[in-house]
C-alpha cells in the first residue's frame, strides 16, 4: 500500500471556482483509479489560490490482474467466424476452452505497476477537469498550451515516497517532487516525499492548504480583533468563502473608517466595503455600523502590517468619496423626475421598457385596491435604477430607492415598498409583511412571470435565466407567510395578462394564463414536499380543487394538504379513505364497462329502494349543507371528520347489489356513488392518495 500525492501548481485560480474544482478533482481521481482496477483506501483533495492537491492513501502498488471470459462461435462453425473470433480475442485455438458446444477464450489483463500508470492518470485529470472559463498560454517551445484555468507552472507527483517524473507535453512540463511556498514569504523550492512532509513544509512555508482551515482562521482571527474593541463581526458566509480562496496565508487586520463617511447610509457603507474591497462589516453591540472594517491580508508585514493597513484605509477613503459623490449627484434629481427616464431602460426586448413595466404595475396595484399610495409606490418602484449609486452598486437597487424616497418626503409605506418589493429574493431572504409592500411585490413578480411566459421564455430543465422559479416561490411565500388565506392568484394573473395585451405585446400562440398559475402550483408542490408534506396529499388537494375557485390559493392549498396528511394518520382518516376507495373502485369499474361516466348529477330519490340508499344520500346532503361555511372558514379537519362519518353508511350501501338487474335502479345507484365521489373530491381527490 502506498501514498500518491499530486499537486498542480498554477498562477492564481479564481476564488469562485476553487471549491467545486477541489471536489471535481477527487471524483475524477476516484473514477480513474477504479477504471484502472486500482484499489485505494481514501482520496482527499485541497485547494488554494495557487494549487490544486490530491492525495490517495492506501493505493495498491499494482493493478489487479483480471480474467474475462468471452464466448465465441459454436464448435464447428465456419472457419471465417472462428478465425475472426481468435483474432479479436488475440488467442490461439489451442488456448480456447470448449464447453457446451461453444468456444470460450479467457482474456487475461496482466497486473501492472501503479507507478507506470500514474502518467495516464495525471494526464486524464488534465483532460477531464472542466472549468467555467479556461485559457491557453504560450509554452517555452512557442506552442499554445492545452486549456486550463490559468497557466500551470509545475506539477508535483510523489508515489510511495519517491518522485515520479514524466513529461506533460500539453503543459510543457516535467513532473517532479518539487513545489514552492508562499509567493512572497517562502518562494524557494521545497522538496517533498510524502503528504505529511508536504503539509508540514508548506505550513512552514506560509501556505495553509485546507480551504476550511483558512476559513476558520479568518473568522476566528477577525472575531478576536473585533471583540477586543467590544464590537461584533457581521456574519457573511459567502464573503468568508471567497476570501479563503484569495489567500494562502490569512492575516486578519482591523482598519478604521474615517468619521466623515459615517453619515453615508449604512447599506451604502457596507456594500461599498464588501463588493469592491471584500472587507467585513463591523457592528456595535446595538447593531449599528461601527467605524471599523475587517480585512484579510495574504502576508504578514515586517512592519507590523502598518503600511498595509494604511493602504487599506486609503483605498476605502477613495471608494467612499466616490459613494459621497454619487449620493450628492443623486439627491439633485428627485425619483419622480428619474422615473420619466425609465423609458431608456429595457426590461426585456419583447416586453418593452421599464416605463411600460411601471405602467403595468400601476394597473396591478389598482386591481389590488391599494389606492393612491399603491399607484405612487408603483410609479417610483424602479426609479432608483437610474441613480448613479445603483449604477455603481446594482445590489443596492430598492435600498437606495427607499433612502432617496424618504429624503424626498414620500410617505413611509411607499418608501418601504420601493425596497421591499424585490423581496423575498431567495429562500433565506426576508419576506415583507407591510400590506403595500406585499401588494407591490406580488404585482412585480406576477408581471415578470406572465411576461416571460407570454413570450415563450419559461424555464427549461436547469436553465432559468430570468429567475422565474424564484419569482414564483416569492409569490408563494408572500401569500403564505402573510396568511392571505383567501388570496387567489387567478385574478392578478389575468389582470397581468390583460395589461400586457393592452400594451400590444405579442404573445406566443400557445400561451394560456393557466400555464403561469400551474407553474406556481408546481413550485408550491416542491416547497411543500421540502416541508415534509406528502406529495400525494398535495396532488389530491390540487386535483380536487382544480375546477373550483380555490385552485390557485397557495395558503389554503398548503393548509388543506397538511390537514389531509394529518387526518389520514387518524382512524377517522383511514375510515374516510376506505369509504372512498370502496365507492371509487366500483364506480370506476362500472364506468369503464359502460363507457360512460356517472357524475352524480342525476340522482333520483324516487328510485331509492331501501334505507341504505336514502341514509347515505341524506347524510351526504347534511354534510354538503355545512361544507361551504367550513371551507370558507378553512376548517378542513372538521370537514374531513364529517366525511369520515360516511364510512358505515357506505359499507351499508354495499350490502345492496349495486349492479341490480333493473338498469334504472343500477344507474341510479351508480349516480349516487358518483355524487359521493364528486363531492368528496372537492375537498381532496383521494384517488391520488398512495399507500
Amino acid at each position: 500500500m502506498a501514498e500518491f500525492l499530486l499537486e498542480i501548481f498554477s498562477e492564481e485560480i479564481p476564488a469562485r471556482m476553487q471549491l467545486s474544482v477541489r471536489d471535481d478533482l477527487k471524483t475524477i481521481m476516484e473514477n480513474d483509479l477504479q477504471a484502472q482496477s486500482l484499489s485505494f483506501s481514501s482520496i482527499r483533495s485541497y485547494v488554494t489560490p495557487r494549487r490544486l492537491v490530491g492525495v490517495v492513501e492506501g493505493l495498491a502498488e499494482t493493478t489487479k490482474s483480471t480474467i474475462e471470459e468471452r464466448r465465441g462461435p459454436k464448435v464447428g462453425a465456419a472457419n471465417v467466424a472462428i478465425q475472426g473470433f481468435l483474432k479479436s480475442a488475440g488467442v490461439s485455438l489451442d488456448a480456447c476452452e470448449q464447453r457446451e458446444g461453444y468456444y470460450y477464450a479467457h482474456l487475461q489483463t496482466k497486473s501492472r505497476n501503479t507507478r507506470d500508470i500514474l502518467p495516464e492518470i495525471v494526464q486524464n485529470i488534465f483532460r477531464k477537469m472542466t472549468w467555467p472559463k479556461s485559457m491557453a498560454w504560450p509554452l517555452e517551445n512557442g506552442k499554445r498550451s492545452q486549456l486550463w484555468v490559468r497557466p500551470v507552472r509545475s506539477v508535483l507527483t510523489v508515489f510511495d515516497g519517491q518522485a515520479v517524473s514524466f513529461e506533460l507535453p500539453t503543459l510543457g512540463l516535467t513532473t517532479s517532487n518539487i513545489t514552492y511556498g508562499h509567493r512572497f514569504l517562502a518562494p524557494a523550492a521545497i522538496q517533498v516525499s510524502s503528504f505529511d512532509e508536504y503539509h508540514t513544509k508548506l505550513e512552514r512555508g506560509f501556505v495553509i492548504i485546507d480551504h476550511q482551515v483558512r476559513q476558520t482562521q479568518i473568522w476566528q482571527g477577525l472575531k478576536a480583533l473585533v471583540h477586543q474593541k467590544n464590537l461584533e463581526l457581521q456574519t457573511d458566509e459567502s464573503l468568508l468563502q471567497e476570501i479563503a480562496g484569495l489567500v494562502e496565508y490569512p492575516v486578519p487586520l482591523l482598519g478604521q473608517i474615517d468619521a466623515q463617511f459615517m453619515d453615508l447610509p449604512p447599506a451604502v457603507l457596507s456594500t461599498a466595503m464588501r463588493v469592491h474591497q471584500k472587507y467585513f462589516t463591523v457592528r456595535t453591540k446595538e447593531g449599528r455600523i461601527a467605524p471599523y472594517f475587517g480585512v484579510i491580508a495574504n502576508i504578514k508585514g515586517k512592519d507590523n502590517n502598518l503600511q498595509m493597513l494604511a493602504g487599506y484605509e486609503r483605498v476605502l477613503r477613495a471608494r467612499l468619496s466616490d459613494a459621497m459623490f454619487f449620493y450628492a449627484v443623486d439627491v439633485k434629481t428627485s425619483l419622480p423626475m428619474l422615473s420619466r427616464r425609465l423609458e431608456t431602460i429595457i426590461f426585456q426586448e419583447k416586453l418593452g421598457t421599464l416605463t411600460q413595466k411601471v405602467t403595468r404595475l400601476k394597473v396591478l396595484m389598482l386591481a389590488q385596491g391599494t389606492g393612491k399610495v399603491g399607484e405612487r409606490a408603483a410609479e417610483l418602484a424602479k426609479s432608483d435604477l437610474l441613480t448613479t449609486m445603483v449604477g455603481e452598486f446594482p445590489e443596492l437597487q430598492g435600498v437606495m430607492g427607499e433612502i432617496y424616497a424618504r429624503a424626498e418626503g414620500e410617505v413611509s409605506e411607499v418608501a418601504a415598498a420601493i425596497r421591499e418589493h424585490y423581496q423575498p429574493q431567495g429562500p433565506n431572504d426576508q419576506c415583507p409583511s407591510a400590506p403595500l409592500s406585499v401588494a407591490l411585490a406580488l404585482a412585480d413578480k406576477m408581471d415578470t412571470l406572465v411576461g416571460f411566459f407570454a413570450i415563450g421564455e419559461e424555464p427549461t430543465g436547469s436553465k432559468d435565466p430570468y429567475a422565474l422559479r424564484r419569482a414564483a416561490l416569492g409569490i408563494i411565500r408572500l401569500v403564505r407567510e402573510n396568511n392571505l388565506a383567501d388570496f387567489s392568484l387567478e385574478p392578478l394573473c389575468h389582470e397581468a395578462v390583460n395589461t400586457y395585451k393592452a400594451q400590444g405585446v405579442a404573445f406566443v400562440k400557445h400561451f394560456q394564463s393557466e400555464y403561469v398559475l400551474n407553474f406556481i402550483n408546481d413550485r408550491l408542490k416542491i416547497a411543500l414536499r421540502a416541508e415534509g408534506i406528502r406529495h400525494d396529499c398535495v396532488t389530491a388537494v390540487l386535483e380536487g380543487s382544480k375546477t373550483t375557485a380555490d385552485a390557485y390559493k397557495p395558503w389554503s392549498i398548503a393548509r388543506r394538504a397538511k390537514a389531509l396528511q394529518d387526518f389520514l394518520e387518524t382512524a377517522d382518516g383511514q375510515a374516510l379513505l376506505a369509504a372512498f376507495r370502496r365507492a371509487y373502485g366500483i364506480l370506476k369499474d362500472e364506468q369503464k364497462k359502460d363507457g360512460i361516466s356517472y357524475p352524480g348529477t342525476q340522482v333520483n330519490v324516487q328510485l331509492f329502494t331501501g334505507m341504505q340508499e336514502s341514509n347515505l344520500y341524506n347524510h351526504l346532503q347534511k354534510i354538503l349543507a355545512e361544507r361551504d361555511p367550513l371551507l370558507q372558514a378553512h376548517h378542513y379537519t372538521d370537514l374531513m371528520a364529517q366525511l369520515a362519518t360516511l364510512r358505515p353508511l357506505v359499507d351499508a350501501f354495499f350490502d345492496l347489489k349495486v349492479n341490480d338487474e333493473d338498469p334504472m335502479l343500477r344507474q341510479n345507484r351508480l349516480e349516487l356513488l358518483g355524487m359521493l365521489i364528486a363531492q368528496m373530491a372537492l375537498i381532496a381527490d383521494l384517488s391520488h392518495v398512495e399507500g
Binding site: 490559468r150 493602504g311 483605498v315
Partner: protein
C-alpha cells in the same frame, strides 16, 4: 536618512528602463484620443498573427464618464497607463511584473499584493482575455491579461498584457492619499510641480465638457464621419489609417455616453458599430501581414 520617494515622472522613466532592459521596444503614446493603452495599435493590432512582439509605452487615457471635476481623490477622466505587451508572454511574466514593482521602490514584503480574477473583455474591440487585476493593499494598481482573442480573431501566439495604473501605483510609492498630491517632478521650491499643477484645470474643464457642454449633435455627426471614413479606408485595405478612425469613433461614443443621451438599445447598437469596425481593421491588418510574409 529616509530616501525621498520616487516622483511620478521618475516612475515612468524607471518603468521604461526596466522593460527596455528586458527587451521591450519603448514606444511613445499614440496620438489619437483613446480610453486605454490597449487601443494603441502596438497592442491591439500587433497582438495578432505569428511572430514575437515586445513593447512598452505610456498611454494617456481618456474616460469621459470618470470625470469628477477634480473632486475625487483618485478618479479622473484623463490619466496615465503604462502598458507592456509581450508576445509570446514569457514563462515568468508574473515574477517579471512583481520585480518591476520592486524596481519602482514598492516594498512588496510589506504590502499585500494579490492577483484577483478579472477576465478582461472589451465589447468595443471584440477582444477578450483571462487574467487578474493586481491589488496592492486592496487597491487595483494593474491589469494582467493573457489575450485570447482580439478583433474576434483567436491569438495565434498568446500575448501577455500588463497595464499599470500609474497614478494608483504612485499613491503607494509616495504614500499619499490623493492623485492631486502626487509629486510630479521631484523638485522642491519654485520649480516643484504636483499632479494637481499638471491636471487640475483639465479635470475641471473637461468634466464640464464631458457631462454638460459637449455638443451632442456634432458628436453624432463626427461618429458617423469616423465610421464612414473607416469603412472607406478598409475597402482600400489601409488597416492603420482605418484603425485610427475606429479609435476616434470609440472615443466619440464614450463622450456621447458621458452626456447620457443614448438609450440602452442605442448604446448597444453603437458598441456594435465600433466592434464591427475594430473587427474589420483586424481582418485587413492580418491579411496584409500575411501577404507580406
Amino acid at each position: 536618512m529616509v530616501q525621498r520617494p520616487k516622483c511620478f515622472q521618475q516612475m515612468i522613466l524607471d518603468l521604461q528602463q526596466y522593460w527596455a532592459r528586458w527587451g521591450c521596444a519603448i514606444l511613445q503614446p499614440y496620438d489619437v484620443e483613446m480610453g486605454a493603452g490597449t487601443f494603441h495599435p502596438a497592442t491591439m493590432l500587433r497582438s495578432l498573427g505569428s511572430g514575437t512582439w515586445n513593447a512598452a509605452y505610456v498611454q494617456p487615457s481618456r474616460r469621459p464618464t470618470d470625470g469628477r471635476y477634480g473632486e475625487n481623490p483618485n478618479r479622473t477622466q484623463y490619466y496615465y497607463q503604462f502598458q507592456v505587451i509581450m508576445k509570446p508572454g514569457p514563462q515568468d511574466c508574473q515574477q517579471l511584473y512583481l520585480d518591476s514593482l520592486r524596481y519602482l521602490g514598492i516594498d512588496i514584503e510589506n504590502h499585500d499584493i494579490r492577483f484577483v480574477e478579472d477576465d478582461w473583455e472589451s465589447p468595443t474591440l471584440g477582444a477578450a482575455g483571462l487574467g487578474w487585476e493586481v491589488w496592492c493593499d486592496g487597491m487595483e494598481i494593474s491589469q494582467f491579461t493573457y489575450f485570447q482573442q482580439v478583433g474576434g480573431f483567436e491569438c495565434e501566439v498568446v500575448p501577455v498584457e500588463i497595464t499599470y495604473g500609474l497614478e494608483r501605483v504612485a499613491l503607494n510609492v509616495q504614500d499619499v492619499d490623493n492623485f492631486f498630491q502626487l509629486d510630479w517632478n521631484g523638485v522642491d521650491g519654485c520649480r516643484k510641480l504636483t499632479y494637481r499643477d499638471i491636471s487640475m484645470r483639465g479635470e475641471q474643464e473637461f468634466s464640464h465638457y464631458n457631462f454638460t457642454k459637449a455638443n451632442t449633435a456634432v458628436l453624432l455627426q463626427h461618429f458617423k464621419d469616423a465610421e464612414q471614413e473607416c469603412m472607406g479606408l478598409l475597402s482600400a485595405h489601409l488597416a492603420l489609417p482605418a484603425y485610427d478612425h475606429c479609435i476616434k469613433a470609440s472615443h466619440l461614443f464614450n463622450l456621447l455616453d458621458a452626456r447620457g443621451v443614448m438609450s440602452v438599445t442605442e448604446r448597444a447598437s453603437y458598441i456594435g458599430r465600433v466592434r464591427n469596425l475594430a473587427k474589420k481593421c483586424c481582418e485587413i491588418w492580418l491579411n496584409n501581414t500575411e501577404k507580406k510574409a
